[in-house]
């Protein structure tokens, strides 16, 4: 059909058609993936139009009436949104600053072992929590910091007047950062370990002959060897920064009403108001859109910065 469409440029068209026919089985193989992404990624993206509509259950996404920028005007006066927004930004940035360098340092420290067995042992230990769900990890933390848990018992024995950091306004956010490091430091260091083992060992030997100290070797051989990996992961992290901050499973399983003021993020706010309060779907979609839009801007900015610093960007 396509072949006979146009007389002009026929040869190149039929050339393309022939190539496509050669790949007919490959198209068949990729078809389920295409359908999946349309259903679960692109149709929801189209659903963003709800941000400019008032949702009517009987009419669906397509038929609901348009309201223009009304939701966004309301959001700008919504104190709960601003509180969630502020918390998301603070938690995201703190996680970035606190967590991002740690796996790099851990990988460099572990790479100092001349024995791969020791390296493997520590890697196995540090990676384990990554595979445990937040529900379970939150259960463990709740137990440790409960009134009859180890933390408060130990503090009381030492003569301190302790209370659970999980229900205190000052303690909650540090718990979020620490537990995130606990779960992900080992896993996140793997990619740097991989990059470090890719460095030519002759470079180290040559440096040793020239009398370079261990710190100098870290600075002039290991670091340049993983710089490009760090750059790419930096962009990826920034692109997902707001999701990192609101890491729904982590916060939802650890927070409780005493700490909502410092713990409620955009994701938990959207979930709670939609499914327990029953807010307008259009309004909540608009809140989600604001988050996605900011993430996209951050991704573009991070990519520009990394490219300016002379590293290869994501695109």
């Amino acid at each position: 059909m396509k072949r006979n469409n146009k007389a002009g440029g026929r040869s190149s068209k039929s050339g393309l058609w022939n190539t496509m026919r050669q790949y007919k089985y490959h198209y068949l193989m990729v078809l389920p993936v295409i359908v999946w992404y349309i259903l679960f990624s692109y149709l929801p993206m189209y659903g963003i139009t709800l941000s400019f509509k008032t949702f009517d259950f009987s009419k669906g996404i397509l038929g609901s009436p348009w309201v223009g920028f009304q939701h966004f005007r309301e959001i700008s006066h919504d104190p709960e949104f601003w509180s969630a927004f502020k918390n998301t930004v603070i938690i995201s940035l703190s996680k970035l600053v606190i967590h991002f360098p740690l796996p790099i340092i851990l990988a460099m420290v572990m790479n100092e072992f001349s024995r791969t067995k020791a390296r493997k042992f520590f890697q196995t230990l540090f990676t384990f929590p990554h595979f445990i769900s937040w529900v379970v990890l939150a259960g463990i933390l709740t137990n440790i910091f409960s009134n009859d848990g180890v933390y408060i018992q130990l503090m009381t024995m030492l003569g301190f007047d302790a209370s659970s950091p999980l229900v205190s306004v000052q303690g909650f956010r540090p718990m979020i950062y620490l537990s995130h490091v606990w779960k992900e430091i080992g896993w996140d260091s793997i990619i740097y370990m991989a990059a470090l083992t890719g460095i030519n060992p002759e470079l180290y030997e040559a440096a040793e002959m020239d009398g370079a100290s261990r710190l100098q070797r870290l600075r002039y051989i290991a670091w340049p060897g993983i710089k490009s990996t760090v750059a790419i992961l930096f962009i990826l992290t920034i692109g997902n920064l707001l999701s990192l901050g609101s890491s729904f499973e982590q916060i939802f399983n650890l927070y409780s009403s005493p700490v909502y003021s410092v713990a409620d993020t955009i994701d938990t706010y959207v979930y709670r108001t939609t499914f327990t309060v029953g807010a307008d779907f259009g309004y909540m979609t608009a809140v989600g859109l604001i988050k996605s839009a900011i993430s996209l801007v951050l991704l573009v900015l991070a990519n520009m910065t990394v490219k300016k610093m002379g590293e290869q960007g994501l695109y």
Binding site: Y23, Y25, H26, Y27, M29, V30, P32, V33, I34, W36, Y37, L39, F40, Y42, L43, P44, M45, Y46, G47, L50, I61, M110, E112, F113, S114, A118, P129, F131, I132, S133, W134, V135, V136, A138, G139, I140, T142, N143, G149, V150, Q153, L154, W182, G186, I190, A195, T197, G198, F248, E249, N253, D267, V270, Y271, T274, F281, M284, T285, L289, L296
Partner: protein
């Protein structure tokens, strides 16, 4: 000679410092899990009287007995098993086939598809549109909601595609000359030679499905279809499960076999993590290699 050199290197103060730092980190990482284990086996009269229970001073199975006698636990366990087995099969079939096709550089439209797939890593429609689409597909209160919409992990798909790129074309050419079609090539040649790699990703997906909680929270309200993580949340965090009330009743009745509630909670954690602990040795043997291969840029 070389042996002697490395031997000498190991004793430096620098190395000792590195070992001490990592040792402390290892203890901090593992202490919480150790704590879970000893509390799960603690005897009621011992732990409830101790001010600080940090050594395995008593050994008792009552908490485990209570869990194994709870029908809801077995139901949730069964749902998670089903979701894991069917989910891994589903995810692997579509990810492997898709990643293999996308590794074909000559395929027209491939770059467009890859770009569209990558975009979804950074931009999505958000919770509400996703909820409405899934609801329209009839997946609310349907076990499939933990299998299908969660079915593709874009990062795994990309890593698999990069991996297939590293397989030499020549392997396929000869089979093609023998008249095999591309699906046969994938099944008969590509998958067998990449078995360890495939196994790693099957395990990644398995852990994801076993830990599945989010889709269940949003879409499953029928407790008969709730997976293990939902059950765990009830036992551990909201403390309003049938298990918690069973422990309470035992305590109130002044029964001879009392169960300390934290012991019960920690025992539930141990039981639910056993499948992960069983596959972990296999998982950790290969994941570093999997990620290394996948991170090679085209």
């Amino acid at each position: 000679m070389e042996q002697a050199l490395t031997q000498k290197k190991k004793i430096s103060a620098y190395d000792v410092a590195v070992y001490i730092i990592l040792g402390i980190l290892a203890i901090i990482t593992f202490y919480p899990f150790y704590n879970v284990l000893i509390i799960s086996f603690a005897r009621f009269d011992v732990i409830s009287k101790s001010n600080l229970y940090w050594l395995p001073l008593s050994f008792d199975f009552s908490a485990y007995k209570l869990i194994f006698g709870d029908g809801k636990f077995w139901n949730a366990f069964g749902v998670s098993m089903l979701v894991t087995v069917v989910g891994v099969a589903f995810s692997m079939v579509i990810s492997v086939a898709g990643a293999y096709a996308l590794s074909k550089k000559g395929m027209p439209g491939r770059n467009l598809l890859l770009t569209l797939i990558l975009i979804t890593m950074f931009f999505n429609g958000g919770l509400i549109p996703f909820y409405l689409i899934v609801k329209n597909l009839g997946l609310v209160n349907n076990i499939l909601v933990m299998i299908v919409p969660a079915g593709i992990n874009t990062l795994y798909l990309i890593i698999m595609k990069n991996y297939f790129n590293t397989i030499p074309e020549g392997l396929e050419e000869s089979a093609k000359l023998d008249g095999a079609n591309d699906i046969t090539i994938l099944l008969r040649i590509i998958i067998p030679i990449s078995a360890p790699f495939m196994a790693t990703f099957a395990l990644f997906y398995a852990v994801e499905r076993w830990n599945e909680w989010w889709h269940a929270l949003i879409f499953i309200s029928d407790s008969a279809k709730a997976p293990l993580q939902i059950y765990l949340r009830e036992v551990l965090i909201t403390s309003n499960s049938s298990l918690n009330s069973m422990a309470m009743t035992l305590a109130e009745q002044k029964a001879t076999t009392k169960v300390y509630t934290p012991s019960l909670q920690m025992a539930t954690i141990i039981v639910s993590c056993i499948p992960i602990m069983l596959v972990y040795p296999f998982l950790q043997k290969h994941f570093a290699k999997g990620i290394l291969v996948g991170s090679i840029k085209e």
